[in-house]
């Protein structure tokens, strides 16, 4: 620098930001969430495609299965039985894909912008998790709106109960996606991995067929260790309970058991939530270590 003194002209008033704390972290969580909302609204193609998949399950697979099993179900409506399973299956992919968008963020550099900010990395993870849960829940509203088409009664208690289970489940699945995204750094590897994990989880959760006495015993055992079974059972408990006492569809449903003890529906939901919080914690730890 030269010694010659020239007064600098400063036109832009500097901003002084107060030092962080909880309010700052909550604001960070909110903006990470908000960004996911803005991006999703800006991408209707993705919304439509994720909506179509559950409809396919419900009305095409459901119709086919109903016809095939009609004789053996004693007049039960298989589509009614299938409804909660399809509801949960439908949000899985939405939630997990929402989470792994963070891998795209890493690839395109935006993750760095978030990680260098004066916020805890767990705020980013929590914001992402709430974002995925919100998107999946909003998507499920459209499926829940079709309940009547498969003879599920429109009752306020049932609808809100289902939304609650859906939110908890999608929160858990987003956290699951975030754990994967923290470890697997490339989209090319992650996509097949997600499919490889989600398919068996779905098929072994009883979402598409009844567990219990009629099912192979090994499947029944495996399902007990699959968090998704609890999500499916929680929502199915709500649907079955809303059916008339005489409905033959009730006979298709068997809840999960722990050493012979039937697990109540509310506990199913708590199991899902607990797994979600555990996965969220793991994701927070992994992301705080990445950079």
């Amino acid at each position: 620098m030269t010694a010659q003194a020239v007064e600098r002209q400063i036109d832009v008033a500097p901003v002084v930001s107060p030092l962080g704390g909880m309010v700052h972290e909550l604001r960070a969580i909110a903006i990470v969430w908000q960004r996911d909302m803005v991006r999703t609204v800006g991408d209707p193609a993705r919304l439509i495609s994720t909506l179509l998949q559950p409809l396919l399950f419900l009305f095409v697979l459901g119709a086919g299965l109903s016809a095939a099993v009609r004789g053996g179900t004693g007049g039960a409506d298989y589509k009614t039985f299938l409804f909660p399973g399809v509801l949960i299956t439908g949000i899985l992919f939405t939630a997990v894909f929402s989470a792994i968008s963070i891998v795209w963020d890493r690839e395109f550099g935006f993750l760095r912008e978030m990680l260098v900010a004066p916020i805890a990395s767990s705020s980013i993870v929590v914001g992402k998790c709430l974002g995925g849960a919100t998107i999946a829940t909003v998507q499920s509203v459209l499926i829940i709106a079709l309940a009547g088409a498969v003879h599920v009664p429109y009752r306020a208690g049932l609808m809100f109960g289902l939304l609650g289970v859906v939110f908890i489940t999608s929160f858990t699945m987003t956290a699951f996606g975030l754990v994967l995204a923290a470890r697997v750094k490339s989209v090319q590897t992650l996509m097949p991995l997600v499919n490889m994990l989600l398919m068996p989880l779905t098929f072994m959760s009883g979402s598409l067929y009844p567990l219990g006495p009629g099912a192979p015993q090994w499947l029944d055992i495996v399902a007990r260790y699959n968090p998704l079974s609890y999500a499916v059972t929680a929502s199915r408990t709500l649907v079955i309970r809303s059916l008339p006492k005489t409905s033959p569809t009730r006979a298709l449903f068997h809840g999960l058991t722990w050493l012979g003890w039937p697990v109540p529906g509310w506990l199913d939901a708590i199991v899902v939530a607990a797994v979600g919080l555990l996965l969220l914690t793991i994701a927070c730890v992994l992301f705080s270590r990445t950079e």
Binding site: M1, T2, A3, Q4, A5, V6, E7, R8, Q9, I10, D11, V12, A13, P14, V15, V16, S17, P18, L19, G20, H24, R27, A28, A30, I31, V32, R35, V38, R39, G42, D43, D105, F108, G109, F110, R112, E113, M114, L115, V116, A117, P118, I119, E291
Partner: protein, 332 residues
């Protein structure tokens, strides 16, 4: 660039201090004991080839990497123990883009304002100010994916300035830009230095960008080999440089040494001689019995400074044998 400015009494505290900084990755020693001070308001440049330790040092200063040993402060805040506070005081523009293509320019800036905890009512006016500063006001509501590479980089600079940092780090800010965009970008950097009370810490391997700095540190293999204003560094390696090609360079070195009492060193297929006045030196090369094929005279560049200290040019892959010759004669 010899930019003059007043010294603010309150800003005597250095913008950046680095003491004995070391970073080891296993066997590899990326940074080997760096010391430096950056004065507030300075445009400070870090010049060196790829892999010299520039980026590692910047990452330590930005609290992204923990040093193996040593200490560094930004605006008096320790990068190890006061990470969050340091992060509020710095703006970062990385080599690779880190803006969200799917958001508009304004949405990107609002995101930044929130994660940096800026007071809500200051956000709107500040966004207007920084966008105006980088000439993107009219593109406020355009999605970033519609921006050119140069515009994205300018948006990143605007974002780096948004929270009024004390130090703006520009890590190879013009890499990947075409010459015209580079020029435009520099015009905006000059402008922001005029308007904002800010220290700019730049890394580059472009000589012309290093020339613009108030002071530069030349870094090679993890150590600072020279530090000063571009003019003083160039002064150290001798005023002018005479490049002469002869029929027999090895013999010419001896002859020049004996007859003209100056050192000539091989540089490619020619010889380099550092002298105070090149034009009047050239005629003396004739008539001492060497077969001169071509001669050229040039002013020293920062690349010559780098060559003098590191024994190679910035673009070279492998270091040549150390050539300390220029330090002997030309120092002033």
């Amino acid at each position: 660039m010899a930019r003059a400015r007043s010294v603010d009494a309150a800003a005597v505290q250095p913008a950046v201090t680095v003491r004995g900084l070391v970073k080891r990755y296993g066997e590899l020693e990326a940074v080997r004991g760096i010391d430096l001070d950056v004065t507030p308001g300075e445009l400070f440049g870090f010049l060196g080839p790829n892999g010299a330790g520039k980026s590692t040092t910047i990452k330590i200063l930005c609290t992204l990497v923990k040093p193996t040993a040593g200490k560094a402060t930004i605006a008096g805040l320790d990068v190890l123990t006061q990470r969050a506070a340091v992060r509020r005081q710095i703006g970062l523009v990385f080599q690779e883009t880190t803006v969200d293509d799917y958001l508009t320019a304004e949405q990107n800036l609002r995101f930044h304002a929130s994660i940096y905890g800026m007071p809500r009512k200051s956000v709107g006016p500040r966004i207007e100010a920084v966008l105006e500063l980088v000439g993107l006001s009219d593109r406020k509501r355009s999605p970033v994916r519609t921006f050119s590479g140069g515009m994205k980089r300018r948006l990143e600079i605007a974002r780096g300035l948004l929270h009024s940092p004390r130090v703006l780090f520009l890590d190879e800010p013009t890499i990947g830009l075409d010459p015209e965009s580079r020029q435009v970008l520099w015009r905006y950097v000059d402008e922001l230095r005029r308007r904002e009370d800010i220290t700019v810490f730049l890394t580059t391997h472009y000589m012309d960008e290093a020339e613009r700095c108030d002071r530069i540190a030349i870094i090679n293999s993890g150590t600072i080999v020279a530090l000063g204003t571009p003019a003083s560094l160039k002064g150290e390696v001798g005023e002018d440089r005479v490049r002469v090609a002869t029929a027999d360079n090895d013999a010419a070195i001896l002859t020049i040494k004996k007859k003209l009492k100056v050192d000539a060193v091989p540089d490619g297929d020619a010889l380099l001689i550092a002298v105070p006045d090149g034009e009047s030196f050239v005629p003396r090369l004739f008539g001492i019995g060497i077969a001169v094929q071509s001669v050229s005279v040039s002013r020293p560049t920062l690349d010559d400074v780098f060559l003098a200290h590191a024994g190679r040019r910035i673009g070279d892959e492998e270091p040549a044998a150390p050539r300390r010759w220029m330090m002997g004669g030309g120092r002033r």
